[in-house]
Point group: C2
Chain length 322, copies 2
């Protein structure tokens, strides 16, 4: 017998998440830019999740997952494997509820990121840098502590939480013709699609994916999820494989995914730093790159862009300042 299908989150779950995380998450600003509008030939509405707590939209999903747990379960803590934005977000979310967070990190992870996760109060568990080792270590922590696994993206509560960014954006600006988001594991893309279509079924939801990690585009094209990927992109937040539940949601919501070379993403990142004065990471800038690469598709339309995060290693720049 196949395992029971995970129930898919719906618009009510996104609205519940919005209420649940409101006391803890930042209501991030929406910014506009005359010069970027002129460049794109569109009206762009930027939702600044780089200004979210812990520097990325990931806090929304982690926070929703943490606060959705029944008290008895929550008391035993949460665990995940992520050395990136989700690890830091879960650590911080756990702290808002006063529970333990365990983060499994591979050897060789960036020291600054690990320090941020520890600073947020999580316990680090080191393991070898393979998926098998990470999953084994997660399982060991669960067996040992009773902590609940909070997956970075293939989790209904995480997806519902990520959808609250698009929900806030749409409630602030009224309707949009399209909304464009980066695609990695598909948590943000799936959540955004649920939120958008809960408000207006005609909003187009576009995903932007690195050409060097284009499994979502290929999976949707062939109608079956690719489960193997050797990513080659500097968008470090978008190297994950699309999750299974995420794949089903992107299919159901007819999300269109376009692929971008890193060169185009970096050019968009520079524009965002210069024109919006925001520190965004490459994995964020790819959404603007997708709009600029398809001017005929977005011309004259109202387009929401979710700037997903701003966690960049600034050492190089500040070295230049001496």
């Amino acid at each position: 017998m196949p395992p029971a299908a995970t129930p898919l989150p719906d618009f009510a779950a996104v609205e519940a998440a919005a209420a649940r995380i409101a006391p803890h998450a930042q209501r991030t600003p929406m910014l506009r830019s005359h010069s970027l509008d002129a460049l794109a030939g569109s009206q762009l509405y930027f939702k600044c999740e780089n200004l979210q707590r812990a520097g990325a939209f990931k806090f929304r999903g982690a926070c929703n997952a943490v606060w959705a747990l029944p008290q008895a379960l929550a008391a035993r803590g949460v665990v995940t494997h992520s050395s990136g934005n989700h690890g830091a977000a879960l650590a911080l979310a756990a702290r808002t509820r006063g529970i333990a967070a365990h983060v499994v990190v591979p050897t060789g992870a960036v020291a600054a990121k690990l320090a941020a996760i520890e600073a947020a109060g999580a316990t680090l568990h080191r393991c070898a840098a393979t998926l098998a080792a990470r999953e084994a270590m997660c399982e060991a922590v669960r067996a040992d502590t009773g902590a609940t696994l909070v997956h970075p993206y293939a989790d209904a509560q995480v997806i519902a939480g990520q959808g609250t960014a698009a929900l806030e954006l749409l409630r602030e600006v009224g309707t949009l013709d399209a909304i464009v988001v980066p695609v990695g594991g598909g948590g943000l893309a799936a959540g955004s699609a649920i939120a958008a279509h809960g408000i207006d079924a005609d909003i187009e939801v576009h995903g932007a994916e690195p050409a060097g990690a284009a499994d979502a585009a290929q999976s949707l094209q062939r109608g079956a999820r690719i489960d193997r990927l050797t990513p080659n992109t500097l968008c470090d937040g978008l190297r994950a494989l699309l999750g299974e539940i995420n794949f089903r949601l992107l299919q159901a919501h007819r999300v269109q995914v376009s692929t971008l070379e890193d060169r185009a993403t970096l050019a968009a990142m520079r524009l965002l730093w210069e024109r919006l004065k925001l520190v965004v990471e490459p994995s964020s800038a790819i959404a603007l790159a997708a709009v600029l690469a398809q001017p005929e598709r977005f011309r004259g339309r109202r387009v929401g862009i979710i700037l997903s995060g701003g966690n960049v290693d600034l050492a190089a720049l500040f070295a230049a300042y001496g």
Copy 2:
């Protein structure tokens, strides 16, 4: 007979400016940071003027000056000498009213800044890089066109316009114990003091000035304005001499000015990029540096910080990305 004293702007002028610029200026967001609060031991309220149009608070003053002109005078345009943020701000402000802007720029000015001023529709007038040459060229443009001079800071309408940032901040967050702003020519400092004391006479107004351009601190200390300065600081927005009218306002409002080494300013700038995810220029970061340098002074208090601008040359960083 000495020249008649320029009338000083008052709180009513700041309120009038706020109404006048409202259709054109960005209502910039206020941001907070748990980690910066912890570092400072204070509650910090950051007013993000780096997100203002043209990337700096300067647009407020320029816009107020442009729209305060009677129509007949406005039709003949405006002129200033500034290759920095004020030049770009005045060019953009003039465009919002559909009038000509003339910007006198010294030879050797940064090409990217000149391109930005021209892109906003201004006419550039090049001259030698001395104050005498700039003033002579300004005078020639005025004689030729009838354009009105809009000084970067020693101007009542400019000062009133700059005060609208503090006004917005105070109206958003309620009262503050102190407000901290960078000091160059003193337009922002004077306007902020007028706005703050129009709302609550007990708010302390602090200025932050580079140790390598400390004429405001020295002028206030000795009770007479220093009119000579050889600046040595990388805070390129703070190299100007305090204006005469600005000096009188800072005296009247008991503005306290502290001086910071560039090293401390750069450390604060890095914190702002990393923790607030904002691109701010060194001339902005100096205000946070002043708070961090005086923990006993600000501990436990509600402190407003005006992040004045975000116009930084990003070439070095993006070179590092390849």
